[in-house]
Symmetry: C2
Subunit: 318 residues, 2 copies
């Protein structure tokens, strides 16, 4: 399933309106087919993997990151039917398809055809893989990641505004990779006027993946798409993943609106006593602050540490 | 040597004016003697271990956390002489004694008597074990630990001042254990007036280890020893380990004076957007902030994480 999830990531940002899915076909210990949702959403991952496997699919086990679809469409056949027709013996599914046209019907159809189905394997990772799709579907807005690059004491700049650089080159390169994974990137008016950031992707081979630039502001600016409040991100067409890069007021505005799903916290081993990374959130009691975030990944990047936090409750993550 | 270092810790806070040293005697794979500097500084660790070993010390290896002393005093004989007289075959030393009355002379005397001496094993840990003694000796002041209990964004309170609790019970219990390791604890006037903290040790069996309470302030307060600036900590008699507990102005004052040797950073997985843990440090360029701190320990305490940072350069750590 881990390999199937990696295949699913190949479709990130390009499979809309469909979710990016991965599929591995294994027979007698050998991989006989691999597929992932193609640009524009078709072919589906299962169709591509079955096509590669041909006759070898008979008796194989299919690992799919999302329940195979049960609905035919003008764009292609239902994947559940394709798997049955190919004679697959077993299907392992990471998560059910929340699309009401499938939502359990794909699994039921496979089982009715005598195929053994296992579900829930790698579910959390699968949800993470299509977080943009799920958030767009259930909250009607992009999945929002807040990026913070701070000192140990949570500062993003010295008192005089100096902020280059707090984190080192490895952390900054990783932040550029994260930019490439998002369709759009947002900053506030203060950051625009102070830093005039390019917000491009300065990584070899990924230069063309620079996200669209969004400005949170009451006034327009040349070359920027402008929104006046966080809820307006719902109107951003073709944006399922939004990266919020700052500054402190913008971060606080999105947190207050409860529109942050994931936090990338790059921390450098310095103490600055400077400008905080998040402006006043307006909290009046501490109880409400607890239990909202869980650490889902951490790694060293040079002498800096990256911590990734996501919404703690399952209910909120969808 | 690890076991000898653990023995050395038994003397922490009680061996002044002598450093707390540990000694293990091992012969043919068996521990034959264990010793640690006793309250008031005598007997020394080696004398105690040799006393326990008796004749078994002949041909044994001695592991000592500090170079055996070469100077006799009215309070007892030189440990180098005791080891030679006992017929020890080998001595492993973690670090040289910086006391000019020894400083290599103990090792030289052992070698002159035909004893094999190895030095530098566990040196960093040994220095840490007697950090208070070393800082008092070389900087003429106590070793200073700054304790911060913050949110992920570096806040120690909400904007309205609410600060109970950011970290959980496990982190708070650990902070009380750290209190018990310090002879004195310091806060600023703001913390006194806002929180009126008891600063006691609320751990079973350690209640009597509550440190002396020091106030950084221009005005006196009942029950508190008052100092008006960080440099005055040099005058605190019997204090080799000082814990600075806040608030933000006090932390900044000690950092600006370059009088923080160690930082205990307890971090709770919450975002607060509230009051920063460190007030303006007056830094004007980022280059100077880098390379000052190194992470020396980290562990989970419930859902919080403790990170311990120490001065990065060896020169500064003594």
């Amino acid at each position: 399933m881990a390999a199937a999830l990696t295949l699913a990531l190949r479709g990130q940002r390009v499979t809309a309106p469909n979710p990016n899915v991965g599929c591995m076909l294994v027979r007698a210990g050998h991989v006989v087919g691999r597929g992932w949702t193609q640009a524009g959403g078709r072919p589906h991952a299962e169709a591509m993997a079955l096509d590669e496997a041909g006759e070898a699919a008979r008796g194989a086990t299919a690992y799919v990151t999302l329940e195979p679809c049960a609905h035919e469409s003008a764009r292609g056949p239902a994947c559940a039917n394709l798997l049955i027709a190919a004679g697959v013996a077993r299907v392992v599914v990471a998560m059910r398809d929340p699309d009401p046209r499938t939502d359990g019907k794909g699994i039921a159809r496979l089982e009715a055809a005598g195929i053994a189905v296992t579900t829930g394997i790698g579910e959390a990772e699968a949800q993470r893989t299509i977080a943009g799709f799920l958030t767009r579907r259930f909250k009607g807005r992009p999945h929002v990641t807040l990026k913070l690059a701070t000192s140990l004491d949570g500062c993003i700049a010295l008192a005089n505004g100096e902020s280059r650089w707090i984190t080192g080159p490895e952390a900054r390169a990783h932040a550029h990779l994260e930019r490439a994974r998002h369709e759009a990137i947002l900053i506030g008016r203060g950051t625009l006027e102070r830093d005039a950031p390019r917000l491009d992707v300065r990584l070899p081979g990924l230069e063309s993946r620079a996200p669209r630039r969004i400005l949170l502001s009451a006034r327009t600016a040349d070359g920027w798409h402008m929104i006046s409040q966080p809820s307006a991100i719902a109107t951003l067409v073709g944006v399922d993943h939004l990266l919020v890069e700052g500054g402190a007021l913008t971060a606080a505005t999105f947190l207050r609106a409860d529109m942050v799903d994931r936090v990338l916290l790059y921390r450098a081993p310095v103490l600055l006593g400077g400008k905080p990374g998040i402006a006043d959130l307006g909290l009046t009691e501490l109880g409400g602050a607890h239990g909202r975030w869980q650490l889902t990944d951490t790694r060293m990047l040079g002498s800096d540490r990256l911590e990734v936090y996501e919404r703690a409750s399952k209910r909120d993550s969808e």
